[in-house]
Amino acid sequence: MSLEKGLISTRQAAFMITNTIMATTVLFIPALLARGVGHDAWITVAIIFILVLPFGYAVQFLGLRFPDQNLVEYSIELLGPWIGRGVALIFVVFFLYLSGVVVREFGVFLVTAVMPSTPEVVFNTLLVLLAAYGVYLGLEVIARVTELIFPISLAAGLVIFLMALPEMDFYQLQPVMAHSFPSILRTSMVLLAFITEGIVALMLIPNMNKKRQAALWLPPVVSLLLFFSLIIVVAGAIALMGGHETARLVFPVYEFAKTVHLGGFIERIESLMVGIWVTTVGLKLMVLFYGTVTALAETCNLKDYRPLVLPTGVLLVALSILIFPDAVAIRHFLAHTWPAMSLTVSLGILVLLWAVSLVRKKGNYRQGGEQNERDSRTKD
């Protein structure tokens, strides 16, 4: 709370967290899931959402135990100045790496789907500049832009889906569970790895204006928003193209927009899809970027995170290019490496911090709530 004084509402927080998880997931996950379990991909979505709610509550209530502190501050409080900073640095690197992956994914999509002759670094640079500007302006600005843009993107995505509906054949979702349950479960870990990116919420919790309300309502709201969006996207892709084709394509969801063909005049609306992608990924990057620089500044005891924004941005552009040799590597990374990495870091550290806070009896959510909020404000 020392670095960022801005406050965000519960709704803004819900949109930010949902958007952070969803933006890249919708584009990449249908193909990854279909590659694992074909037309049963939609079942993995259903399975995951049984796990998301406990994960969400674990994150929220950990935050509530330390209502005025962010992840780095209570890592230090719980684990001591050295180990605590070590854990914080893992998070910094994790968010930085994830940001690099997001920037690269952004560039790859625009290059393969829209502008094949443009060098990827151009898109990456522009996106990072945009995100850096947002991060520079602070959390409240990011929250307000998200509050404005995210519902519009969601509605536009839904409209695209509805317009592609006449081309879909939901018969292709049958037979249910044609693949063995272990293989479905294994594939669903790929999706879970995307969802646990939501751990970035730990950096936002101290800035929420109604922490108790947020802790109770954010997990169900976020998981329902994610569940409906992802089930629509995954089941829709399979109903449109079948399991094999969904797995073969690089961006199956883009085909929704390319398929739309209504009344002979509503067609070629894929630019709308690109617009959604650019805005939502921009916002996602802002949140991750913000998480990276605030965590880093807090770890190093800086008074302001803003001096770190530009250097980190430069690092991000370089990282996004160096991280993968080609687009095939991205897909391979997302299917095989990212689940292990994301689940280890986010779940591992979540469990570690929870365990230590329970053992050392530090932090107490009962003292969170309304009273603490007033305290925190007077402390400012």
Binding site: K5, G6, T112, A113, V114, M115, P116, S117, T118, P119, V122, L126, L129, Y133, Y136, L137, G138, E140, V141, Y171, Q172, Q174, P175, A178, L240, M241, G242, H244, E245, R248, E255, K258, T259, H261, G264, E267
Partner: protein
């Protein structure tokens, strides 16, 4: 803390923005001026000698299509290039064309018969990989060479043959449902769909004038030219029948009646005409198909797989032969319904027997089995087309309903004059 930036920061941002502007003003890498684009509206791919393909580009000539000017210029420029594959053919074509070839406006891909028999995989791979392609591009199989269709074929009154093809395939087949419209996306899905073999509408050219329909849907049904047809060069593009595949190789063509048989099984007939009893017999009536729905149920018995096809159809009377068919009578309507049921049943069985003899499940029966009984499918899928499909029994039951007799009751009555 408020977020107002100090003057130093503002300058930094300003300089950055200038830098971005400078980078962008150099122009986008993907910029294309519309005057410099050759819009390929249709493309034909044929087999050529020594493993090459012969690719025919049907490029719109925008000057000829504009209201003023144009004069006698042809509406499209058709160029054929021989090369190792489609990508190289495009490269060769780009060497000849002052305008950049672009597939953004592609309406139809026509695959020549010889190439289709060799396998359409490599061609489809090119078209599914290009980012400017859409899954809604029509795919057709040419009877003969695709080149002939694009060079000689016309589709009056449309100026562009490609537009004609698109318009015909897009509209609801009120008069005739004897083609099988398939878009690129569906064809790609069909290739990999378990228990389903690809099928695509076939296209042919026939002389423009004096074209007459030979027979009804029973026979081969091709357009046949009347004797003494002089219009050798002007030929019309006809879309009827379908080419059926196994995996990605063309096996054979279906006649119009067999094609509609396939459409019945898939519940996709939403128009067309049926003549009962079969033409050539004395009294006949022509009945219209308005709408239908089909339900295919796989039934697994000991060592036997059976499919129950239930078709419910609605239509009306469109024309009758003579006064003997008293359309005004309730009994006659019932009789006509029964005759129509028999006729539709024959069409479906025709398609089924064709599938059995070709050993290709373009009806998607295996697909139905897979969705309902995945366990059974696992056992039979390896030799489904060769061993199981020829053995399956297909029970077809059709329920027809004649809703009305159009504007007239009884037919013209010449017998009871005066």
């Amino acid at each position: 803390m408020s977020v107002t930036a100090g003057p130093k920061i503002k300058n930094t941002v300003l300089i950055l923005l200038l830098f971005v502007a400078a980078v962008c003003s150099g122009g986008c890498w993907d910029r294309m001026e519309i005057e410099n684009i050759a819009f390929i509206n249709a493309v034909g791919v044929d087999q050529a000698g020594s493993g090459n393909v012969l690719v025919t580009f049907y490029v719109v000539n925008p000057d000829a299509l504009s209201k003023k000017g144009g004069g006698g210029a042809p509406p499209a420029i058709v160029t054929s290039v021989e090369a190792w594959d489609v990508a190289l053919a495009v490269a060769r074509y780009a060497e000849l064309s002052p305008r950049l070839p672009q597939f953004k406006q592609l309406q139809a891909i026509i695959i020549g018969e010889d190439l289709a028999r060799q396998g359409v995989g490599p061609v489809l791979d090119y078209f599914s990989r290009r980012q400017e392609m859409r899954r809604s591009i029509w795919v057709l199989v040419a009877k003969g060479k695709a080149q002939d269709i694009l060079v000689k074929g016309q589709s009056p009154p449309e100026k562009l043959a490609s537009s004609g093809i698109r318009i015909i395939l897009e509209r609801r087949p009120i008069h005739s449902a004897t083609r099988y419209p398939v878009v690129l996306g569906d064809l790609l899905s069909d290739v990999s769909r378990p228990g389903m073999e690809p099928i695509a509408s076939s296209v042919e050219i026939s002389p423009l004038r004096e074209a007459t329909t030979g027979g009804a849907y029973g026979g081969d049904g091709g357009l046949t030219a009347a004797e003494g047809s002089a219009a050798e060069e002007n030929k019309v593009i006809a879309l009827r029948g379908a080419g059926v595949f196994r995996d990605e190789k063309l096996l054979d063509f279906l006649g119009p009646s067999e094609t509609r048989g396939v459409l019945w099984v898939q519940g996709k007939v939403n128009g067309g005409r049926v003549v009962v009893p079969a033409p050539g017999q004395d009294d006949w009536a022509s009945l219209a198909i308005e709408r239908e729905s089909t339900d295919v149920k796989p039934v697994v018995e000991a060592n036997k797989i059976r499919f129950v096809v239930n078709i419910r159809e609605e239509g009306y009377v469109i024309s009758v032969d003579n006064e003997k068919i008293k359309v005004g009578n309730l009994d006659t309507i019932e009789l006509l319904e029964q005759e129509k049921q028999t006729a539709i049943r024959q069409e479906v069985l025709g398609a089924v027997s064709k599938a059995k003899s070709l050993q290709s499940d373009f009806l998607g029966l295996g697909d139905r089995l897979y969705r309902k009984y995945p366990g059974v499918w696992k056992q039979v899928k390896d030799n489904w087309n060769t061993a199981w499909l020829p053995q399956v029994e297909v029970d077809v039951s059709v329920k027809c309903k004649l809703r009305n007799t159009s504007a007239t009751n009884d037919p013209l009555n010449a017998g009871e004059k005066g």
